[in-house]
Symmetry: D3
Subunit: 283 residues, 6 copies
Amino acid sequence: MIEAHVQGEILNQALPYIQRFRGETFVIKYGGSAMRDPRHLRLVTRNVLLLQLVGIRPILVHGGGPEIDKWLQRLGIAKRTVNGLRVTDDETMEVVEMALAGRANKALVAEIQQAGGQAIGLSGRDGALLVAEPISEELGRVGRVAKVNTSVLATALDGGFVPVVCSVASDHQGGAMNVNADSAAAAIAGALHAAKLVLMLDTDGVLGDKEAPASLISRLGADQARQMIANGRASDGMIPKLEAALAAVEDGVGGVHFLNGSTANSLLIEIFTDQGIGTMMTR
Amino acid sequence: MIEAHVQGEILNQALPYIQRFRGETFVIKYGGSAMRDPRHLRLVTRNVLLLQLVGIRPILVHGGGPEIDKWLQRLGIAKRTVNGLRVTDDETMEVVEMALAGRANKALVAEIQQAGGQAIGLSGRDGALLVAEPISEELGRVGRVAKVNTSVLATALDGGFVPVVCSVASDHQGGAMNVNADSAAAAIAGALHAAKLVLMLDTDGVLGDKEAPASLISRLGADQARQMIANGRASDGMIPKLEAALAAVEDGVGGVHFLNGSTANSLLIEIFTDQGIGTMMTR
Amino acid sequence: MIEAHVQGEILNQALPYIQRFRGETFVIKYGGSAMRDPRHLRLVTRNVLLLQLVGIRPILVHGGGPEIDKWLQRLGIAKRTVNGLRVTDDETMEVVEMALAGRANKALVAEIQQAGGQAIGLSGRDGALLVAEPISEELGRVGRVAKVNTSVLATALDGGFVPVVCSVASDHQGGAMNVNADSAAAAIAGALHAAKLVLMLDTDGVLGDKEAPASLISRLGADQARQMIANGRASDGMIPKLEAALAAVEDGVGGVHFLNGSTANSLLIEIFTDQGIGTMMTR
Amino acid sequence: MIEAHVQGEILNQALPYIQRFRGETFVIKYGGSAMRDPRHLRLVTRNVLLLQLVGIRPILVHGGGPEIDKWLQRLGIAKRTVNGLRVTDDETMEVVEMALAGRANKALVAEIQQAGGQAIGLSGRDGALLVAEPISEELGRVGRVAKVNTSVLATALDGGFVPVVCSVASDHQGGAMNVNADSAAAAIAGALHAAKLVLMLDTDGVLGDKEAPASLISRLGADQARQMIANGRASDGMIPKLEAALAAVEDGVGGVHFLNGSTANSLLIEIFTDQGIGTMMTR
Amino acid sequence: MIEAHVQGEILNQALPYIQRFRGETFVIKYGGSAMRDPRHLRLVTRNVLLLQLVGIRPILVHGGGPEIDKWLQRLGIAKRTVNGLRVTDDETMEVVEMALAGRANKALVAEIQQAGGQAIGLSGRDGALLVAEPISEELGRVGRVAKVNTSVLATALDGGFVPVVCSVASDHQGGAMNVNADSAAAAIAGALHAAKLVLMLDTDGVLGDKEAPASLISRLGADQARQMIANGRASDGMIPKLEAALAAVEDGVGGVHFLNGSTANSLLIEIFTDQGIGTMMTR
Amino acid sequence: MIEAHVQGEILNQALPYIQRFRGETFVIKYGGSAMRDPRHLRLVTRNVLLLQLVGIRPILVHGGGPEIDKWLQRLGIAKRTVNGLRVTDDETMEVVEMALAGRANKALVAEIQQAGGQAIGLSGRDGALLVAEPISEELGRVGRVAKVNTSVLATALDGGFVPVVCSVASDHQGGAMNVNADSAAAAIAGALHAAKLVLMLDTDGVLGDKEAPASLISRLGADQARQMIANGRASDGMIPKLEAALAAVEDGVGGVHFLNGSTANSLLIEIFTDQGIGTMMTR
C-alpha cells in the first residue's frame, strides 16, 4: 500500500498542471486494443472524468476497427482495403455505422455514466458535427472531414456532459461516411483550438526508427515529424497519426500527445505530473 | 394549386393553437411502416421541426422492429417471441442496439439536419436517460422503464436541438436493455409532464371494435380504454399502446393522440386545425 | 370546408419561410381603408401576432388621416394642404396627436390584446422614439424624421410585446410633430436593419403604369422605382411610398413589400407561401 | 444664494431615506392645477426622475379633467355628472381617451424625456394594464378597476423607463373605460405592493375639518380616515381620495402621502427630509 | 522518485472524492505552529487552492496568538489571561487587530497569490462578517460570535477568490472584538451549512485519553466528545476545539476533521484518499 | 433650521449631476487630519455611501502616516526620511502594514458598515491589487506602483461593496511594500479609467502661490500644474499630489479634485452642486 504522505505529495504536485489547463479543451482519441479490455476502458473513462472535474473540457473520440471486422465477418461481407483504407460500399457503411454509433459509442457512454459522470454519445451526423467528402470513387463511402459544426459539442460540454464521438461523418446529403478516427479527432481539436489532442496508441509513443524499439521520442517537432514521414522512418501505422497530429498543430492546437492506452492512467501521468510518458508534438 | 386566400386562411387559423401550446413539451412516438417510407419520413421530420419553430419543445421517440429483423435474419439469428415480446439474449441485444442506436436513430437525425433543423440522436444509455429493469428471466434483456433521467433532454432542447430517442435503455450496470418504444415515449412524456404524447400508427386511430373498420373513436376516455382492454375489443397490437397511453395520462400528460403516420401532415392537422383526425385520449 | 390534407400541406409549406425569418425584425405600416374595417383590423392584428409567435419581431406602424379629418371637421377647423401635405398649426397638431396617439393607436393595441397577444402603444414622443425636424415654415408642425431612438422598441420586443407606433414625432424641445407614417415606418426599419418593411395599401401593389390597372409589378428594383418617380408613371399617392421604400432599402432593409391591406391574410400569404401577392422591392 | 455647506448638509441628510427606499416601488398620482402649470410640471417630472436615479421604481399616474372639459366644450358636447361622476357615453369616452392618452399623457412623457430621462406613456389598454367594469348603466363607460396586469409596468421599469399611466382602462371586450385617476393609482400601488402611494392635490393635505383651513393633519390613521368620511368632516373632493388611500393600505401599500402638487419639490421634501409636509396615512 | 504508475493511480483514486465534494463549502481553521513555518504555510495554502480548483468552495480561517504575543511584548504590554482567555482591554485589542488583520492575514493572502490563486483577506469587520458580544466585563473585548453575515463570503467565492478570515469580529457599534478562531470557523461553517469544518492542530487529532499519546481516535461521535469534555479526558487545549466542533455539527455541518497542520498535505490525504488521518467527528 | 423649500430645491438641483455620473467610477483618496477626527470620518464615509446609492462606483483609498508614527514611537523604532520619504526597512514595514491594513483600514470599513453600507477592506496584497517595485535600495521597502490588478475591485463593486484600499502593495514575491497613498489612488483611477480622482487635503485646494493663502486655484490645467512644479510655486507637500494627479489625467481619468477633507460634505458639494469648492484639474 502506498503511504499516505506519498499520496498527499502527488496530489499536491498536480496543482500547477490543473491551474494551467483549467477551462481548456482536450480532444482524446481513444482506440486500439486498450478499448477492448474492460479494465483499460474503465481506467480511461475515469481519467477523462477526472479531467472534467478539474475544469478541463474533454471530448472523447473513437473508432472501432475490430468491432466492425467482427460484424462484417459474421455477416459474410468480405473486407477489402486499398492503401490500408477500408473500401466502404453502402452495405459495409451500414455495418460500420451500426458497430460504431450503435455499439462502441454507447458502451463508452455507459462506462462514463457508471463512473458517476454524464456523457452523450454522438456520431458525426448528430448536429452535422462532422461533414465529410469522398476521398475517391474507388473507396466508396470513405471520406475526409471537410467541415466541423461544433455547436452540438458546446451544448453538451456546457450542460456538463462529456461528448463521446464516433468516427462516422455525414455527407452533404446527410448520408453516413466512414472517416479515420485520428483525423476526425484532429479536425475537432483544430476547429475548437483545443489546448491538447491526445492520441492513444498500442505502443508507448513515436519511435525515432520503426526498427528500433528503444528509440522512443519524448518531444517531437513538427518538422521532424514531416521528415520521418518523408524518409520512411515512420511506420505505416504511424503515418496517418503523424499526419493528423500535424494538421492539428497547424490548426492551432497547443500540443499533441501520443500515449499508450494500455498503460494504466497514462492520461493522468502525462497531463498532471512532471513525468511525461509517451511522445509530445508541438508546432 | 391551392388558392392564395385559402392558404392565408389556414395559416391564420393556426394562431390559437400555437398560442395554446407555446413552451409546452410534446413527445412523439414515430414508427411503423411510415418510418420506412422516405416520403413519410421526410414529412414527419418537417412537421416536428415546425412544432419546434412555433415554440413547442418536441421529442421524437422511435423503435425499429423491421430493421432489427432484417439484421437478425442476415446474421442467421432466429427470432423468438413470448407473448408478443422479442426474447432478447445478449447476442440479440447487440443487434437490437446496433440497428436502433446505430442506424434508425442516425437516419432520423440526418433527416432533421437536412431539413435545416438541429438534432441529437440519443439512446437510453446517453445520460442514463432510460433505466430499465428486466421483465422476466425468460425474456432476457427485455425491460420495463424504471427511471427517466431528463437532464440530457433539457440540455438538448435548451440548446435548440430536437432530441431523437431510440428504445434502448440502460440496466443498473450500464448494460443495454430492449424496451418497448411506446412505453418509453410514455415514460418520457410522464417524467416531463408533457402537454401531449403522440403515438403514430399504421392505422387511423383506435377502433371501437377491432372487427369494425368504420368504428374509429375520435375521443377516448381513460375508463373507456381500460374497458376495451378488459373486454377484448382492443386488438392485440393496440393493447400495449393503450396501456402506454393510460400510463401517460396517469402521470399527468395532458392528452394522448393516436395518428396514422402515413397520412400526410397528420401531426400538423391534429395539432393546428379544428379537424382532429385520429383518436385523442384524455384522463 | 377545406379538406384536412390541404390544411396540413399548407402549414407544412410554411416551414422554410419560418426558418428563414426567425429572429428577424419586420416593420409593418398599416393604414388606409383596411384600418377602418373591423373585419380587416381583426385579421391584420392576428396576422401580426402569428408572425410574433413563429419568432419574428414585428413592429406595427400606423397613421390615421380619416380619423384626424373627422375630428377637425367636428371641431370646425379647416383642413389645408400644400403639395398634398397637411398644413399643421399648433391647434391642428393637438387634434392630430389626440386622434392618432389617443384613439387609433389604443384601438389597435386593444385588438391585439383581445386576440391573446400583448401590445404597447407608442407615439414617437415615448422614449423619444422618433425625433423630427420641420420641413418648411409654411407647413408648421409637419416634420421629417431626423433620428430614431430604438431603445423603447427593444424593451417592448424583448418583453414579449408588439410595439404599435403612431406617426407622431417629437421635435428637439419635446413638442409634437406630424410625420408621414410610411416615412416613419421606413425610418424605424432602417434604424433596426429590419429584414422587411411591409407597406399596406388600398390597392394590390405598385402598378407599372398608373393608368393601367392590370400592370401590377411583382418584383421591383430600386432603379426601376426611381425611374417611375422620375418619368411620372407612379401615381401621386404612390410617390411618397416609393420614396419611403427606397430610403429603407438604402438603409439596409432586406426588402419592402407593398400589399393590399383589404386582402384577407395578405401578410401571411406574402411571407409564408410561394404565392407572393403584391409588389416586392429589393435593392 | 444658498451657501455651499448648507447644500452639502441637506444632500447628506438624504442618505438614510435613500437607503430605506432603494428598490421600492412608488406610485405617484399627479394632477390638479399643478399639472397645468409648466413650471410645476417641470419640477414634478424632475423630482420623479430623481427618485428613479436613487434606485426607487416610480410610476406616474394622471387624469386630466380640465383638458377633457376643454375639448368637450369645443366639440359642443354637454358635460353631465351624476354624484360628481362624469356621465360617459361612447362619444364622450372618445374625447376622454383622446385628451388623456393622446395629449396629457404624451406631454408628461415629453417632459421627462426633456429632463434627460426615459419614459413610456401608457393607457390602461396597453398590455391590458387596467381592466374595469361599469359602475352603473346610467354612467355609461365610467368604470371601477377590476384587474391590474402589471407585466407592462415591469417591462418598462426593468428597461429603465418611467411608466406614465393615464386613467383610461379597458373593458372585457377591449373597449375604453373612464376610471378615476386616484383609484387607478391606488389599484396599481396595491397590485405591486408599492412602498408608497403619493396623491398630489391642490391643497396642502387632509384637513381635520373641511371648514378649518388650519386643521391640516400630519399623520392620519386608517380608522380616523374612515370616521372623517362617515361623520362628514371630509370635503366632497377629498372623500374619493381618502377611499382610494384606504383601499391602497388595505392592499398592503406601505403608506399614502397627500401632497400639494404646487409646492415646489414637495415630493423630495416629503420623501428625503425630516420635514414631512402634507399628510401621511398608514394602516 | 515516485514511479509514474503510482502517481497515476493516486490521482485516479481521487475521482470519487472529488465527485462527492464538488460545489460544497469547506471551512478550514489554520493555526498553531504549522502557520509559522514557511514550508508548512506553503503546503497548506497550495492544498487549499487544489480544493478550490476541483470545485470545492474553501474558506480559510486563522488566529495568531504567537504573533500577538510578540507585538505585545515588544510594546511592553503585559499579557493577562483568565481561564485561558486573553484579557483584552482596548489597547490590547488594537494590537490584536493589527497583528491578525494587518500581518498574519495578509501574509496568508500573499502566499495564495504567489501560488497562482486569488485571495481576499477579511476580518470580521469587513461586511460585518462576524458580529460578537462580550463574554464578560472582566475579559474586556473578548467576544462570542452572535451573528454571521455571509454575503461578503459569497461575493468573494463567486468571484473566484479564496476568503481568508482572521479571528477579529465587530461589536454592535462597529468596534473590534477578539474571538476564538476555532469558534469563528465553526460559526462560519454553521452559517453556511458547510460540508466540512477542518481544524488544524499541532497534534495528530483527538486523543481518547490526554495521558495516552497512542490513543488517537479516528472517528468520534458527538456524544463521545461531550463525554470526553465532561469526564476530563479531553485536554485543556482540546476542550474549546471540541466545543466548536460540537457547535458546528449541531448547526448542520457535515463533518469536522481534526488534522495535524504540520503533517505535509494532511488536508489532501484526509479529503482525497482512503487513508483518513487525524480524527473525524460527525453528528 | 433650514426651510423645507430650500431643502427640496437643493435636492432637485442634484439631478443633472447624478445623471452625468451614474455608472462611473470615482476613486477617493482620504487622509490627513480629517481622517483622525471621528466627526469628519463619519461625514466622509456617509458622503461616499451616498455616491454609491445614486449609482456611482466609489473606491476609497487611504494612507495613515500619524497612525504609523504612533506605533513606531511606541515600539521605539526611529523614523528616518530621505527626501521626505520614510525609509522602510523590514521591521518598519511590518509596523506600516499593521497600522494601515490592520487598524486604519478596518476602522474605515466599520464606519461604512455602521452607516448602513457594505464595505470590504483591502490592502494591495489582496488579489495582488497593487504590485510595486522598489524606488531605491536606500529606501528599502518603499515602492512605486508598477501594476494594478483590478479584479478584486470589480468583484467587490459588483457585489455592492465599497472597496476600502490602504496604501500597502505587494512586491513580485508577495512581500509587503510601502507606497504613497496619492500615487496608489492615481494608479487605481488610471487602471479603471475612472471619471474622477478626488484627493482630500488639509487645505482648501491648490494655491497659485504657496506663499499666498488667498491664491486658491479653482480650475487647474495639466500644463499649469507642471509649471508650478517646475518653477517652485507648488509647496513641497503639494508636489507629489500634483504628480499623482498628472499621472491620473494622462492615464485617462476624467478629472482630479483637490478638496479639504475637513470641510463638511465637501465631496457632495463638489460633485452635486454648482458651487465647486477646492481645485479641479483636467487634462
